[in-house]
Amino acid sequence: MSFSITDTPIDLPAIRAALEHHGCGAAVFFEGRVRDHNEGEAVDRLEYEVYRPLAQSEGEKILAEAAERWSIERSVCIHREGRLELGELAIVVGVVSAHRDEAFQAARYIIDEAKVRLPIWKKEHYRSGEAHWVNCQRCGAHAHAHSG
């Protein structure tokens, strides 16, 4: 299991090399890529802010949970930090296992948990010149349960 944050482009060949294992008949990879649109707005580029100490420990926890729940051999998750252009990799998850069902389920679990648990924030820069923290400006109107 290997979780990491990187401020340089994600190195796919290195991930593949880490997941070579002759006992594994199945490999599942998920790639999150910078998309050119979000909720109707044309996106130009992204910026990811990461709080590394907690992102690292939480990311390792997620991989450990996946390894506990499914019989997988190895897993890798790398998240990008900083400025990203269209099409660049924001996150890559890779899992290998003897059979495919486990690899699919574990990869899905890892990306689903990573999206909601890692202390990472995304700022979208739009073609219009505006920029927004995703999820933030839009939920600012909602009261939150804890702020009495």
Binding site: G32, L54, I120, H142
Partner: protein
Amino acid sequence: MKTVHVRYFAAFRDATGRSEETIASAAETLAELFGERVAAHTALHPEAAARVALNDTLVDWESAFSDGDEVLFFPPVAGG
């Protein structure tokens, strides 16, 4: 009064205009502490999915805190 070191991330940093501050607070819970910060920074607003960490550990908003603690206010995350 307890003295705590507070850090703001992403949209919270933009809203407060700072990434950190050291403050004196009479609040008992982290939720109350955040409420004080909302009162102090007009652009800072509560967020439904915001989270809080105490000395690099995610904790409940109803947690207490101690003099000298470091408190991290995280706006809703959006990784991946």
